[in-house]
């Protein structure tokens, strides 16, 4: 399989490898995939009070395309609002990295990881609000990510 230059570039110089403390209230964590399937992605976002993603980290067990997809995703996430981040579609990642058809699922995994990190952050935030605010307000915040 010949990799595109962009996949190779991200693979050789992956951006934002690492971890945030998953218990930090500002952090949302998405862990998707399965070892048995040969790919596991963990993507984390750090979100400020305005709902803007300040920073992102990933670790990925998978092929070069999976690593490149998650590296690219962390790059794109920074500076985006949660809503904008939720709009990142796998086809955008696949196109940017020129992934061949058999590698599309690597980009799907990255999209899943983003969605799952956002969802995790929102749930945590909703739980936090539930503790400090009246219950009615908490429910209002607790909207599904869509």
């Amino acid at each position: 399989m010949a990799y595109s230059d962009k996949v190779i570039e991200h693979y050789e110089n992956p951006r934002n490898v690492g971890a945030f403390d998953a218990s930090d209230p500002e952090v949302g964590t998405g862990l998707v995939g399965a070892p048995a399937c040969g790919d596991v992605m963990r993507l984390q976002i750090r979100v400020d009070d305005e709902g803007v993603i300040q920073d992102a980290r990933f670790k990925t067990f998978g092929c070069g395309s999976a690593i490149a997809s998650s590296s690219l995703a962390t790059e794109w996430l920074k500076g985006k609002s949660l809503e904008e981040a939720g709009g990142i579609h796998n086809s955008m990642i696949a196109e940017e990295l020129s992934l061949p058809p058999v590698k599309i699922h690597c980009s799907v995994l990255a999209e899943d990881a983003i969605k799952s990190a956002i969802e995790d952050y929102k749930q945590k935030r909703a739980a936090r609000v539930a503790l400090s605010e009246p219950p009615a307000l908490a429910r209002a915040e607790e909207r599904p990510a869509g």
Partner: protein, 407 residues
Amino acid sequence: MTLKLPVYLDNHATTPLDPRVLEAMLPYFTQDFGNAASRTHAFGWRAEAAVEDARDGIARLINAESGKEIVFTSGATESDNLAIKGVAEYYGEKGKHVVTTVIEHKAVLDSCKRLEKEGFEVTYVGVGKSGVVDPEDIAKALTDKTILVSVMLANNEVGTIQPIAEIGKRTREKGVIFHVDAVQGIGKTPFDVKAMNVDLASISAHKIYGPKGVGALYVRRSRPRVRLGAQMDGGGHERGNRSGTLNVPGIVGFAKACEILEREGVEEAARIRALRDRLYDKLVKALPRVIVNGDMQQRLPGNLNVSFECVEGEGLMMAIKDVAVSSGSACTSASLEPSYVLRSMGLDEADAHSSIRFGIGRFNTEEEIDYVADLVISKVRKLREMSPLWEMQQQGIDLKSIQWAAH
């Protein structure tokens, strides 16, 4: 430094042509180009003489009774097909049961699948973690309807050597025809069709430093005489077993490759084994959690199949792109399923995804092995730093306790 990149460590897939083989072949493309079936002129006679010499040489390497027992084919895929379908066609009246193993090459397994469609019953005997079949399991699978047993000499993924002599003893006692796919083991581990009671054996030139597209099927002619239904009809070449104009240069090269192995094989195996052990020692000294897949002793000298835990095989191959190896990872296949051989050995699927096959051969050097070892060590470390599984494992989290969303 004279190290030339990329380094080729995929000698189970194919091998480079030995320059001595090429030299032997060349005249048969140009001045001695005759058709070995042409009986009326010197061009044909010379080609025929070369082919007959080649038969004898190949027969000698496997200790066959005579060159007449060698049927030339286009490669071992064809040899396997001819052996299995040919026996089924000729002896199908006697019984419709075939015994093989789950770790055979696809050329054997898919030929068996075809027979199943035609009303045969096939027993696929399993192997354990060792990747070595138990001859007792083969014996137990035999019924009075069994006409054929097919077991490989050595596995192409994990290099495990199968107990051919023990199986041959049992099939001979029962009067069942015994086919061996000897492709990977020939010239690297002892193989003797007489001593091991083998009736049919597939071999291929391109796995032993010969040319691609030429192979042979050994077909026993006495005690017992084995007959086949031809799968290729035409001019009646190869005693009617396989029609088609012979690939004379290919056959000459094939025989030259066998001659070199016969002369140098034992010494070469020792040298290659030392390189393999050197690679293995370096890897396990530097890296924790490296699992050897299959029995380490009953193994081809040039094979090392290992899983680097928490590092995906294709990802690693990309990191070591100056080294040609292969992986049992699903990511390398169109099917997205990890190697059926590793899975049938009971390997954890995650570890099957993490497997790398190193295949060391005649032209590899110690310098290359050292380069590969250092490169693999540094890349595995780097990829583990990037692996969420490695991090979790280091934190003592049992990966099996997590509810993974399988997709």
